[in-house]
């Protein structure tokens, strides 16, 4: 009797001690990063992160991103650019098959792009393909064909752009430019068929997505048998699932950073990568006193960005002095930011004729960590005599107000869709993109516009990068935003997982090399 009781205690202890050390028996990789159900698995509807990731598993584009955000060949094995930078000739792989066995041919590229741009698709995600000649007119229902697209034979696609756009291949690596088969059924978003490394198996809405290895994948087939993307809305639950060994990869919640960094066994599982993501306060440069650059500079000097990064984000990121992340060419990490200097802020305000301070509204969404950051900025600015009224709205209402130009200050973050400085400079600050295009600062500076427009056409990368840096400097001096920080991705990866690299761009990790070690 006594020995039996002893055995029970030992068993219980053993159960309690079973940590995450032993590798699980499963042969399925399990991801925990999706916090909401993907919109669809149809590339034409890929406007959100979970959708984009899943599309990247099932489909291929002509090109794709590596985890460190390089563009490498996908369905195109190589491409040439004409000297005027307008014509791209893509040489396609032959022998590639869709998951249903149909062969991949050049005309699939044409029909895929056409489908994304077709008004009947109602995707609203055509912009990455707009550089193609005739694409915008086709999307607006003004043209019957896309003049810039042709397929002279089964393995060649020729794309002519309306004007030279040197980084165009990067846009083709976005999920929306993935290649789908002919005659797509109406439930394609639920039953996708691509050429990618993973075949779609099932989708339990708000629960998980399951994919199986495509053994015939043209590149290298996945190491693992299957991949499950679980949808876990609550970050603390994702942590619990990771600690129980049920998921392989965890996005460490901002609030838990210190806890993970200070525990040795947890720290051993951490991996980080610079993120192409920026937190900033868009200053509407057309509203009242904010039209004066000195006032905007004063806001920058009054804000304690370092304190916010350290106190609220647990130091997870880099202070920004410009909009180009340090991980991208053109990012100038030597540029000195607006250091916190209350006296200077007051002086600038006085010079602009506001020695009694100003009143502004700061809009933010209700999602953490936005409210805390907004409150900190409010307190910071008050020290310089700037009286901030906080306006908290849900993300949707706030976005609408900011785009309509109704916000003085708007606390925002920005994710890159493709790894290039242009993805920050052009949408956020070019005057062509005021409002819905992304420039909610309503910033307009002809010199900046000219530099960005020229850089978009420039074929020589070194020259282009120089122009990026110059443009960033021009805008920085005008201070159309309060520069806060660039994020750093922090993941925890189970010790039994091999070869998982934290992606710099969200579609950069397709799990093909990743293994469960046993």
């Amino acid at each position: 009797m006594r020995t039996r009781r002893y055995a029970l205690v030992t068993l219980l202890l053993a159960m309690a001690c079973m940590g995450g050390e032993s590798s699980p028996a499963r042969r399925t990789l399990i991801d925990s990063r999706d916090t909401y159900d993907p919109r669809s698995l149809d590339p034409a509807l890929s406007t959100d992160v979970p959708t984009g990731r899943a599309v990247g598993y099932v489909f291929d584009g002509l090109v794709r991103f590596t985890p460190d955000a390089q563009v490498v060949p996908g369905l195109a094995r190589a491409w040439d650019v004409s000297t005027d930078g307008r014509t791209y000739t893509f040489h396609l792989r032959s022998g590639v098959k869709f998951h249903d066995g149909r062969p991949f041919r050049a005309r699939n590229v044409l029909s895929s792009f056409q489908r994304v741009l077709d008004p009947a698709t109602k995707g609203g995600r055509g912009w990455p393909l707009y550089p193609i000649a005739g694409a915008k007119d086709y999307a607006d229902g003004k043209g019957r064909t896309i003049t810039g697209l042709s397929a002279p034979n089964d393995t060649t696609v020729v794309i002519t752009l309306a004007e030279p756009f040197a980084i165009f291949p990067k846009l083709l690596a976005m999920p929306v430019a993935a290649i789908v088969p002919d005659s797509v059924p109406s439930n394609f978003g639920e039953h996708p068929i691509g050429t990618g490394p993973w075949k779609f198996v099932e989708w339990k809405h708000d629960d998980y997505l399951l994919f199986a290895k495509n053994p015939d994948y043209f590149d290298s087939a996945p190491e693992a048998d299957s991949l499950k993307a679980r949808i876990i809305p609550e970050p603390s639950t994702a942590v619990a699932e990771f600690e129980s060994g049920n998921v392989d990869v965890l996005y460490v919640p901002e609030g838990e950073t210190r806890n993970w960094e200070q525990t040795d066994e947890k720290k051993a599982m951490l991996e980080s990568a610079p993120a192409l993501r920026m937190m900033y306060v868009a200053i509407n440069t057309t509203r009242g006193p904010l039209a004066d650059a000195r006032v905007r500079q004063a806001l920058n000097h009054a804000t304690d960005a370092a304190g916010i990064l350290e106190g609220i984000m647990s130091g997870r990121g880099n202070l920004s002095a410009g909009v180009i992340p340090p991980a991208l060419p053109g990012g100038d990490s030597a540029r000195a930011g607006y250091r916190r200097d209350i006296a200077k802020a007051k002086q600038l305000l006085a010079a602009a004729g506001h020695s009694n301070g100003i009143d502004v509204e700061l809009w933010s969404s209700q999602t953490p960590p936005f409210p805390r950051i907004a409150q900190t900025i409010q307190a910071n600015l008050l020290e310089a005599g700037v009286r901030v009224k906080l306006v908290q709205r849900d993300a949707s209402s706030m976005r609408e107000a900011a785009r309509a130009g109704q916000t003085d200050l708007a606390l925002k973050d920005w994710f890159a869709d493709y790894p290039d400085a242009e993805n920050f400079l052009y949408p956020l600050l070019h005057s062509a993109n005021k409002g819905v295009g992304g420039n909610v600062s309503f910033y307009s500076n002809p010199r900046f516009d000219e530099l960005v427009a020229t850089s978009r056409r420039e074929q020589d990368e070194a020259k282009r990068v120089t122009m990026y840096a110059q443009a960033d400097q021009v805008a920085f001096a005008d201070a159309p935003m309060i520069y806060l920080f660039f994020y750093k991705e922090l993941y925890a990866i189970q010790p039994w997982i091999k070869a998982f690299k934290v992606p710099t761009i969200f579609t950069g990790q397709r799990w093909t090399d990743v293994q469960i070690q046993r």
């Binding site: 509807l45 708000d206 639950t237 129980s244 609408e400």
Partner: protein, 306 residues
């Protein structure tokens, strides 16, 4: 009885129509633009204008409402703006899961809550009564997300007896059902106790005891049955609320139910999804209330319906 049910169902039609009107109007005046949520970042004004036209969002509200009502009468709740899937299909997938969770939580709560209530009432002021009351206070005071996370930490992360979250067999159901039901356990225990105390003082209970019936029979058969009306009221109300989406519980336990669906739809201004699911949930609420009323008659023959 049959006539009563028919009359109640007929009366619920104006209620449901009212819900449709109010929700439609609220969404119309609320800030946020469904089309901007559809297209994501970096959209262009032409695309937004075109989509608005295609979705008939540029039409006057009475026309939009008329078109929507016509669809509803045909049993068509429309397609989601965001996912393009039929709303009916989305609800069909998620509601059974919410029903399972709510049903389990209520079952657990009734068994545990009523038992605690009855046992407490048998000896008011005794140690069990005090313990029960104390637990009830705790159950009512702790917010469900806190209870949920603590349950996950203890039973999933540390003891590894149950999975932390997800949807599957019975083992996935236990923690969320307990977290969701904990408030009801406390509530039911308190209501049962006070109702039982009142009944146990009644003449018929003294008669039953005088007849020499065993205490178990006196309490279980005679007293409890008479104490049921307030208990049914609490059960009906809580069940109605649980069925309309236990958003926090579903979020914490990654449970793919209707509550998360509604919240996501609201966050993305997915108008057909919001209208459709709120209408559906109103029907559910009306039905639960009707069943509660019918249960009164079952519990107490003196309650008559006409």
């Amino acid at each position: 009885m049959f006539a009563f049910v028919i009359r109640r169902l007929a009366l619920s039609i104006p209620t449901l129509f009212g819900v449709m009107v109010v929700v439609f109007l609220l969404l119309y005046v609320a800030p946020g633009d469904p089309v901007q949520d559809m297209v994501g970042e970096r959209a262009d004004a032409e695309t937004i204008a075109r989509l608005r036209k295609e979705l008939h969002l540029d039409e006057p509200i009475y026309k939009q409402f008329a078109a929507y009502t016509a669809g509803v009468l045909k049993g068509d709740l429309g397609n989601s703006y965001i996912t393009q899937r039929p709303i009916v299909q989305d609800i069909k997938e998620r509601f059974p899961k919410t029903l399972l969770l709510a049903g389990s939580a209520m079952l657990l709560a009734s068994i545990v809550g009523i038992t605690i209530g009855v046992l407490s009432a048998r000896n008011p002021g005794g140690w069990f009564d005090r313990l029960g009351l104390g637990l009830a206070y705790l159950g009512i005071s702790f917010p469900v997300y806190w209870v949920g996370l603590i349950l996950i930490l203890i039973f999933a992360v540390n003891l590894k007896w149950l999975p932390p979250s997800g949807y599957g067999g019975v083992k996935y159901l236990i923690l969320p059902a307990f977290a969701l039901g904990s408030r009801s356990i406390a509530f039911l225990a308190r209501v049962t106790r006070s109702s039982m105390l009142e009944v146990l003082g009644g003449d018929f209970v003294r008669t039953a005891r005088a007849k020499g019936l065993r205490e178990r029979v006196v309490v279980g058969r005679h007293a409890l049955r008479n104490a049921l009306i307030p208990i049914i009221t609490v059960l009906g109300l809580d069940f109605g609320y649980y069925l309309t989406g236990s958003i926090l519980t579903e979020t914490i336990f990654s449970w793919p139910g209707i509550g998360r669906y509604v919240v996501n739809a609201i966050a993305r201004r997915d108008l057909p999804a919001i209208n459709g699911s709120v209408l559906f949930l109103s029907v559910v609420f009306v039905m639960v209330n009707l069943i509660t009323d019918l249960a009164y008659a079952k519990a107490d023959p003196r309650v008559a319906y006409s």
